[in-house]
């Protein structure tokens, strides 16, 4: 199957360097300290943040100099084409939870909350490729909504290579499964640092640079969208308290 048509368009009609439509909302729930809903195309994710609070369960887990970050990645049983038997607890979900924690730990100022715990729960409602990225982005929004200090945005994006040469950005489920290599990057776009990099399938080293660049540019673009959403959210929340804002 060709991932790119003769006209240079992808299966869903996007150009190779075009992101899917991003829509998001902060503060969708009342009970968590922070929550966010994010959809990137047909991938839809809810994230909730609880904390910082006292360590739940065994005290021995507490860290004396920083907060414990606890992540859980879970997928609704109806989120995939084929029904999932268990929403979480399988190997894939556990791996995702760990990756999520690793990425988010890099931006959260954990040293401010020694001996306490921050819970980040993400729930994939609909999966259509780039689940991990959408989860990272949603979790970032939820952390901001919860008012937990972070050094900067943590944004993730995927990229692939079509026909062995054209880099694709923000790949969908169909593109993910149709054989090309997948590169997942979680990065801090402002400082330009890469936090997590995961790659499946091999491709020639010559292409790495190109694909990476596309993925990072994707991160930049996503960051811009998220940033606007956060500003809008804060403005509308602040409007109720008669805050005055300068728009940029």
């Amino acid at each position: 199957m060709d991932l790119i048509s003769d006209q240079g368009l992808r299966l869903d009609g996007r150009r190779p360097n075009e992101l899917r439509k991003i829509r998001c909302k902060l503060g969708v729930f009342n009970q968590p300290d922070g929550s966010a809903y994010l959809e990137q195309g047909n991938t839809k994710v809810l994230a909730a943040v609880y904390g910082p609070h006292e360590i739940r369960g065994s005290r021995t887990k507490a860290l004396h100099d920083q907060a414990l970050i606890n992540c859980q990645y879970s997928m609704a049983t109806f989120s995939t084409g084929e029904r999932k038997r268990r929403p979480r607890g399988d190997r894939k979900s556990i791996e995702m939870s760990i990756h999520l924690r690793q990425a988010l730990q890099a931006v959260i100022k954990t040293e401010l909350y020694a001996r306490s715990q921050i819970d980040i729960f993400v729930e994939v409602l609909q999966a259509d490729g780039g689940n991990y990225c959408t989860c990272v982005n949603a979790a970032t929004l939820a952390l901001i909504d919860a008012g937990i200090p972070i050094t900067e945005y943590m944004v993730a994006c995927t990229a692939s290579l079509a026909n062995g040469e054209t880099p694709l950005v923000d790949i969908s489920h169909l593109e993910e499964t149709s054989g090309g290599p997948n590169l997942t990057v979680a990065a801090m776009p402002m400082s330009g640092q890469i936090v997590l990099l995961e790659m499946s399938q091999r491709f020639h080293l010559d292409h790495l640079d190109k694909v990476m660049k596309h993925a990072l540019r994707g991160c930049q673009e996503i960051k811009a969208v998220l940033d606007k959403a956060v500003r809008d959210h804060v403005a509308s929340a602040g409007a109720a308290c008669n805050w005055e804002f300068k728009t940029d």
Partner: protein
């Protein structure tokens, strides 16, 4: 709900409120909180609905699968409820923490749907004794603000109403093996009959009075509640008690009467809402963009 802490004064306040028919949030004893309902929100599912009842948020997806019927019931399809309590609702649900509550809800739903009047499983039969539809009704609880049973049952009924089962166009017999051909056309599908499907009504006993649609705080104050499954035409398809308390026979009689009336109203309101939504959709169909809010509202 676990982890909810109320002081004695708060409890007394709620108790007095129930007594004087003026609850903490200004409602009367038999008033519901406002609800928001939207169907067809998950594209991977054959039918779906999202219901938000004040702080309680439920998402239901129905998926269909072909299965073989139970040997003892060759003419019937299968229905399976699965409730997943997301950790988004409370950290206590992390891992397998919500399993107990989830099983309790799914059991109570399957009990309410057990009678063939509530849901006729024979409509899910494809080839008697060989092939049938299995409906997976997956319920995701995203936020708990009290009155889970009612919210879940309403969302499930809405999702079933929204469900489209693909049409079987042909079946080829190859020895004992059966091959089915399903229609690819998404518009060629079968709707389910949900006229008998019940809604659960929780009547929460606080002091000597019963009230409906309890908030999480009110649930903590209650010692016992009765959950009724009421269908459109006043049939009660299942009843069970929740909580640790007990009832005087007289109280139980009154509770049933109140519950039944409310159940009928609830069914009617749901039906009206679903019809209204469907009509709006049809009207919107002509315009290019169909607006679905989901969680963006």
């Amino acid at each position: 709900m676990a982890g909810m802490l109320l002081s004695e004064a708060e409890k007394t306040f709620i108790l007095r409120g129930a007594e004087s028919n003026f609850r903490v949030d200004g409602r009367k004893r038999l008033d519901y909180r406002p609800m928001e309902l939207e169907t067809d929100v998950v594209s991977h599912a054959s039918g779906s609905a999202r219901l938000r009842l004040a702080n309680t948020d439920v998402l239901v997806g129905v998926k269909t699968e072909i299965d073989t019927p139970f040997p003892g019931r060759p003419n019937e399809g299968k229905l399976e409820f699965f409730v997943d309590c997301s950790a988004n609702a409370t950290p206590a649900f992390e891992g397998r923490g919500g399993e107990e509550l989830g099983t309790e809800i799914s059991n109570s739903l399957s009990r309410a749907y057990q009678s063939s009047y509530a849901f006729d499983l024979s409509t899910l039969c494809i080839l008697p004794g060989q092939q049938c539809w299995k409906l997976y009704i997956d319920i995701l609880i995203l936020e708990c603000g009290g009155n889970l049973f009612d919210a879940v049952s309403l969302a499930v009924k809405a999702a079933l109403h929204n469900t489209r089962v693909p049409l079987v166009t042909a079946a080829a017999m190859d020895g004992a093996q059966v091959e089915l051909h399903l229609s690819d056309d998404p518009f060629e599908s079968k709707r389910l009959d949900v006229s008998g499907v019940p809604c659960l009504v929780t009547l929460c006993k606080i002091g000597d009075h019963c009230l409906v649609d309890p908030t999480a705080e009110e649930e903590v104050c209650s010692t016992a509640s009765i959950v009724l499954a009421v269908s459109e035409n006043a049939f009660i398809t299942s009843v069970f008690k929740a909580g640790v308390g007990s009832f005087l026979p007289q109280t139980l009689h009154e509770t049933f009467k109140e519950g039944q009336e409310i159940g009928i109203e609830l069914n009617e309101a749901l039906k009206a809402a679903l019809e209204r939504e469907e009509k709006e959709r049809e009207d919107n169909e002509k315009s290019p963009a169909i607006q679905r809010y989901g969680f963006l509202k």
